[in-house]
Amino acid sequence: MSEILTPSPTDPPPAETLLEATSISKSFGPVEVLRDIGLRLVPGEVHAIIGENGAGKSTLMKILSGHLAPSKGTLKVNGEKTAFTGPVDAEERGIVLVHQEILLAPDLTVAQNIYLGRELRRGIVLDERTMAEGAHRAVLDLGADIDPKTVVNRLSIAQRQLVQIARALLVPHRIVIFDEPTASLTPVETKALLKVIGAIKAKNAAILYISHRLPEVKTIADRVTVLRDGKLVGTYDAANLEPVDMARLMVGRDVSKLYPERAEAKTGETVLEVENMTVPGFTRNASFSLKRGEILGFAGLVGAGRTELLEGIIGLRPANGSVRLNGNAVQFKNSKQSMEAGIVYLSEDRKGKGLLLGQSLKINLTLAGLDKFVRGMLIDRRREDQALDQAIRDFDIRTRNRDLLAGQLSGGNQQKLLLAKMMLLGPKVVVIDEPTRGIDIGTKEQIYKFITGLAAEGKSVIVISSEMPELIGICDRIIVMRNGEIAGEVAGEHMTEAEIVVLATGATMKEAALVAEGA
C-alpha cells in the first residue's frame, strides 16, 4: 500500500447554517452510543455520514430528525435552539428522514402510501385522481415508472425503497436525511437517485447522506463526516478524500484489500444444470450450469428476475424447466426438498424471511437442521449449545451474550448467523442473495472470505448481487439478466462494470461506461 495522505478536517464559513448540532451524546441505559458529536449543515451541500455498523450513524440521524432526543447537547435549526417533540415536529421545520427500513403499508397502493396521513380531499371524499397523478410524478422524478395504482406488496424491494423516498420528498423540505437509500438499488436506479439528490441540492436544501458505498459517497458528497465507535473522527472535504481513505478512517486501520486473494479456481465437474427455466411472470427460458468449487454471480437490474429464477429452481415458486443435480433430474416442490438435496438459499430479506428476530441465536441456528439435534423424541440441548459455540467461533459472530435475540444482532452478525445456520446442513450448493446488503466494510471483508472459503472446500456458490464490484471481486463467472432473460455471461478480463451494464441495460458501451463511473 502506498502512502495515504491524511486529510485535514474542514469547516466552511458559518455564513448560513441550516442545522447545527453541538456536543450531542446519546446513551441507552448505561451504554453510550454517541459521544460529543458536532455537525453543521449549510444550504446546498451534500453531507455524507460514514462509519461502520455500530458507529452510531443511524442513532445520530434519528436525533437530527426528531425520532430520538439526545441525552446531552444542543440542536439549532436556522440558528434557533430547538428540542424536537417528535418526527412530525422536525418535519414541520423542514427536516425529513428517509428510513433505511421499508415502512410502507404493503396492502395499500403506491399512491395511497405516498399520501398516507396527508390525503388530499375534495369535500369529504378522497381526491384519488389528483393523488394518483401526484404520486406518479413523484416516482417519475426518481427515474422509476411505477403505476401509482400498484399494490406495494407486488413491488420489488428496490421499487418500495423508491416509493418511500418519493413519500418523504412530498413534504416541503430544507434538509433531507437519507439513511442508506441505495442499499437495495441497482446502479441504474442509484444513478437516478443521485440525480434527484442533485436536484434537491440545486434548490439550496441540504442533504445528509448515509451510505456504505464509498465510491458513491466520493461521487456525490461535498463533505464527509466520519464516525467511529460513537465518536466523531472528523469532517472532511470530499474532494480530498479517496474511498480508501474513507475506509481507513472508518475502520481505524488499513483496509485496502476488501476482496480475498483467490488461487486459480479449481473447478470440477458440473454440479447443477438448469435448462429452459421459466418462472411465470418473472423469467423465460433461462439456462446455465454450475461447477464444483465455482462461484457464479448473477447481476442485473432490480426486477430482472434474478431472485425469482433461483427461487423457482429451489421450489419456492412455481416454475417449468429442467434441473439436473449431479446429473439426476430433480424437481423441487418446496425448500425442504431442495435442502435435503443439498441446495441452500439465503434470502436477501434477512429480517423478513431469514431469521426469527424474536427468538434466541440457538433456536435460529438449529432451525433448518433440527433433525440432527433430535435424539429420540427430544431436542438435545447440549449439542445445540455446542453447535452455537462452534458457530460463534467459526463465523466470528460478535455477541456480548449468548442469550441475545437474533433481532438484537447487527446486520453483519445476522448474516453470519444465517450462514452458520445453513452450513449446518452440509450443503453442496449455496445460493446467497445480496450477501452484504447493509453490512459494514469490515464485516463485508469477512463475508467474502467465508464465500471464497466455501468454494475452496469444493462447494458451489451462487451469489446474486446488485453491487457489481463485489461480484467482480469474488466470482469466477457472472451471468447478467435483463427483463427475465439471461442477457449474457462475462468471465475473466471481461468482468468489468461497463460490460455488465451493457448486458444488464442493453445500453451502448459508451453510455454504460458513464453509468459505471457514477456508481
Partner: protein, 439 residues
Amino acid sequence: MNENASTGSNSTDGARAAELGFFARFIKATELDTRLLGMVLALLLIWVTFDVLSGGLFLTPRNLWNLSVQTASIAVMATGMVLVIVTRNIDLSVGSILGFVGMIMGVAQTEWLPPFLGFENPATWIITLALGIAVGAAIGGLQGFIIAFLGVPSFIVTLGGLLVWRGAAWWVTSGRTVAPMDSTFRLMGGGPAGSIGANWSWVVGVIACLGIVGLIINARRQRKRFNFPRRPVWAEILLGVVGSALALGAVAVANSYPWPIGIVRRYAEEHNITMPEGGLFIPHGIAIPVLIAIVVGIVMTFVATRTRFGRYVFALGGNPEAAELAGINTKWVIMKIFILMGILCAISAAISTARLNAATNAQGTLDELLTIAAAVIGGTSLAGGVGTIAGAMLGAVMMQSLSSGMVLLGLDTPLQNIVVGVVLVIAVWLDTIYRRRVS
C-alpha cells in the same frame, strides 16, 4: 436499528449489575420471569381481597380444593390454546367440542357399551376415554386440515365448528341429558372418591420436590459444562426451597379438607368402623382431575420446549416465511396443533362429564372464551410467537378464582360477567405496557 447491540461489552454488563436495586438484583440472580412473578402476585392479591370481602371464606382448604378442581378442565384446554394462538390462529370451537365429545362419552358408557360389557365393567372407563380422545383428535384433525391445507382462516373454521359441534352434541341424544356415569370414569371428576388421599398426596408432594431439586441441579451442571454464567448458590437454594415449600404447602392444604360427614358415615358403615367421638377425619388429598391437569401441563411444557414439533410451532409463530424457508412443513405443523387441541378438549370433556356425573347438551358453553382468556392473560401474544404453558395454566387459575370468588360473595351472574370482561381487558392492557417497557 440495533447499532447499540454490538457495542456493549461484558464490562458494561458488570457495571449495570452494580447499579441495580435490590429487587432487580434479586430477579437477575434468580432469573425468575418477572411477568410470571407479577401474575402470581396478582393472583395472591385477588385471593386475599376475596378472603377479606367474604369474611375469611375464600382462603379455606375447602374453597381452594374446589377451586383447583374447577380449574382443571379449562387449564387442560388452555395448554393447547397456547400453541394455537402462538401460530397466529384461534380456536373458538373448544367449548363445543368439549360438549360433543362429552356427550359421545356419556352415551358410550350408558348406552353403547353396556349391551356388550354390562354396567360397571372395569374396562368401560378406558374404552370410553379412548373413544373420546379418538373423536376429539378426528374433529381437531378435520378442522386443522381445512385451516392448513384448504387455507380457510381458523377464526372462520372454528366459528363454524362452534355451531356445528354444539348442534351435533344435541343431535346425539336429541337434547336428552345422559346420566349416571360409570363409577370408575367418575373418578376423573374429583370428589371424595376421586381424590388420592393424604398418603399418596404426600408421595406426590415429595416427588415434586425431588423433581424441582433435580431440575435445578441438572441445569447447574449443564451450565458449568459450557461455562455459562451460573446463578449464585443462594439463589439456587432459595428457588429449591420456595418451590418445594409451595408443592408441600399445596399438598397440606388438600390434606386438610376432610370428607363431608355424610360420606364419612357411609364409609364407616361399609367398612365396619365405629365412628369415634368427634367424628372421623378423612382428608381428600389431591383431586384426580387436578393431577391430570398437572400431568398435562408438564407433558405440554415438554412438547413446547423440548421437542422438534414445539420448536417448529414457535418458529412458525415468530416468522412464518422464515420457518417455511427453513424447510418446515408448516401446514402439517398447524394440522398437528389442532389435532392436539382436539385431544385436550376430549380430556377436559372427560373431566367435566365425570364431575357432573352427567353429559348435558350445554356442557362447555362459553368455555372457548375462558380458555382463550386464560391463555392471553397467561402471556400468550395474539401477534404470535410468544407464550408459555405455565402462564396459561396460571391464567386459568386466575379466571376461575375470579368467578368462584364472586359466587362466594353472592354477586349476580350478569355482574360477574361484567367484572370478568373488564378484568380481561385491563389485564391485557397492563401486559401491553409491560411488554413495551421490557423492549
